[in-house]
């Protein structure tokens, strides 16, 4: 699922611009679990640049094959079934890039990710982006953008969020936002947005950490 989603995001041949920001958030030598890892681009970059010990979970069979082709370890399956195998705090980073919006219950997966990972890196397309707002406001149509290229009737994106909504969610569930990187991603480059990101950024990357330690050391 997420493999297909990702193919609609542009790639500049090498690493997608937004991925480099994610790679930069990861400390060298870390363990990483990439949920909805697609064809493994990000995992490969983490392995190369950060000597990270990576593994992924992916639903699309062609994407799984691409991961194996890259020498990556990947689990072919649904995201929600994947995490039961992982103990609390068992990996340094759990990564969810452009995956949340296609899930039935993104809230449950984020909380699971926050249980398993010491930190989570979550990225979402921003539905508060001005182009999205303008299409609905002035044209009166369901918005379509680079990140959200689908028609209303065939979109897999069933849980879209704005950056503001996502920050509220984190606050409500005790997830401390250690870092937020808001971007507008163009064909050739990717620009960081500092001013009114919920309006001017079309993509947000959040590095999260649980505010309170888990109670009960091992629920598995």
């Amino acid at each position: 699922m997420s493999g297909e989603i990702r193919t609609v995001l542009r790639s500049n041949g090498d690493l997608r611009h937004e991925f480099q920001y994610i790679v930069n958030t990861v400390k060298p030598g870390s363990t990483v679990l990439d949920l909805g890892c697609g064809s493994g681009e990000l995992m490969k970059a983490l392995q190369k640049q950060k000597r990270a010990r990576v593994q992924g979970i992916e639903l699309s069979d062609t994407a799984v094959q691409s991961c194996v082709e890259k020498g990556l370890f990947v689990y072919h399956g649904d995201l929600n079934e994947g995490l039961a195998d992982f103990n609390d705090n068992s990996v340094d980073y759990v990564i969810l890039t452009s995956t949340l919006q296609v899930l039935e219950r993104p809230d449950l997966l984020i909380l699971e990710a926050a249980r398993v990972g010491r930190q989570c890196v979550v990225s979402v397309p921003n539905f508060g982006y001005w182009r999205v707002r303008f299409q609905l406001m002035f044209q009166g149509v369901m918005p379509k953008t680079e990140h959200l290229p689908y028609e209303w009737y065939d979109t897999p994106n069933i849980h879209l969020t704005t950056l503001t909504d996502f920050r509220r969610f984190c606050k409500k569930y005790g997830l401390h936002i250690e870092q937020e990187i808001d971007l507008v991603i163009g064909e050739q480059s990717c620009k960081r947005i500092w001013l009114l990101p919920n309006f001017f950024a079309d993509y947000g990357i959040f590095v999260l950490r649980r505010e309170t330690p888990l109670t009960g050391s091992d629920k598995i």
């Binding site: 000597r51 010990r53 094959q65 020498g71």
Partner: protein
């Protein structure tokens, strides 16, 4: 991939005999067996460091002849010829591939139809019960004999996959990678039930005679029924629809008779008839029982503990329409390995072929396996 391209050519089965008394192999059941002969074939060249060997393990009724032909006039190549050869997934230009017939079988290795040196007659039911673990221990003796310290990979499907898992558990440092395909760490009660029906069919055949039929009529109708039952479990509902539908054989209207009328009946009859020409009924009893007993979650009843010794990195593969060794069984293995912090990839191949898919889905299997062999390695090179 065409079948003739990249063939290993003409091959010859070899034999290795060991465990001569008094150094017989101690079996899990407590009895001893020896001497033991294993039939095996090899393809490709063992490199100087003896580090490029791959052990391929066959399924229930398979044999050592995995690739190539025994003579130019051979009608069919070995059972995994599309996977083994120059430029193929198990590339014989790079790897030294070994396949041996399991102990307990009847295709060159010691089994119930072999002569018992103590009596001078075929063993029959005097043959001790061999387990998947015993089969692996026998293979280990062959690998030692070939002078191989560590295998690059151990791979197999179905019962072969069970042996792969046993290898990874019993001899964890003797391989770098392992690939169980369409397999399980323990059969489901449903699968045991089908095996039991097969065994009953053999034992109910009057020719079976408590296993003493060598030199007389063999229990071919019983064995044939066992094979028919087996074949049903190897196919899927969809593949049977595609292959036979409800078609009648050579006619349009039924004769309202008990002769073979449907295509699917005719197929099963053919499979049964062909099978009895090449397989020994007692071996079928022993090997199917070995599969039934196999359970890596024992003795503690927990698969994670049963697999705790595993070190090598794994690629676990299942097929979507396989209901004999369903995907959930492969996922169980993957889950246990992941919890044990073993490097593992899991792929479920979409296929309508049922359990048989591991002998048919060459393209996808080749792609996965080629890359896994090429790039994967245990991540112990990292500092963690």
């Amino acid at each position: 991939m065409s079948s003739e391209q990249g063939s290993v050519g003409i091959v010859e089965t070899q034999y290795y005999t060991f465990a001569e008394p008094p150094c017989q192999l101690e079996l899990e059941c407590g009895r001893k067996l020896g001497p033991i002969t294993l039939a095996y074939e090899t393809y490709g060249k063992l490199n100087a460091g003896k580090s490029n060997a791959i052990l391929v393990i066959h399924a229930l009724t398979g044999d050592a002849h995995a690739a190539g032909r025994h003579s130019p006039s051979d009608r069919k190549p070995g059972w995994w010829d599309k996977m083994i050869g120059p430029g193929k997934a198990f590339d014989t230009d790079r790897y030294f591939v070994i396949c041996s017939n399991s102990v307990g079988g009847c295709q060159g290795s010691t089994g119930p139809s072999s002569i018992n040196p103590e009596t001078g007659r075929p063993y029959g039911l005097e043959f001790p019960m061999v387990t998947i673990g015993d089969m692996v221990n026998a293979q280990k003796a062959l690998i030692d004999h070939l002078g191989i310290e560590q295998l690059a990979c151990v791979v197999g499907g179905s019962m072969g996959g069970m042996q792969v898992l046993q290898w990874a558990t019993t001899y964890p440092d003797k391989m770098r990678l392992f690939i169980p395909i369409a397999s399980t760490a323990r059969l489901s009660p449903q699968a045991i039930a089908f095996d039991a029906v097969g065994r009953h069919a053999i034992m109910a055949d009057p020719n079976w005679n408590k296993g003493n039929y060598y030199g007389a009529n063999s229990p071919s109708s019983g064995l044939s029924i066992a094979r028919m039952v087996g074949h049903i479990t190897y196919l899927s509902d969809t593949s049977m629809h595609t292959k036979f539908g409800r078609d009648l054989k050579d006619k349009v209207t039924p004769d309202y008779d008990f002769v073979t009328e449907f295509q699917v009946e005719s197929y099963l009859n053919y499979q049964g008839d062909e099978f009895v020409k090449r397989f020994d009924a007692n071996s079928y009893l022993y090997l199917s029982k070995a599969m039934d007993y196999f359970d890596l979650s024992q003795p503690e009843g927990e698969l994670r503990k049963g697999l705790s010794a595993v070190q090598a990195a794994a690629l676990v593969i299942s097929f979507s329409s396989d209901w004999l060794f369903p995907s959930y069984m492969s996922k169980e293995i993957v889950s246990a390995l992941r919890r044990n912090n073993v490097d593992v990839s899991y792929a479920e191949i979409q296929s309508d072929y049922g359990h048989d898919a591991f002998l048919l889905e060459f393209d996808t299997l080749s792609r996965l396996i080629t890359n896994f062999l090429e790039y994967a390695g245990p991540r112990n090179s990292d500092e963690r």
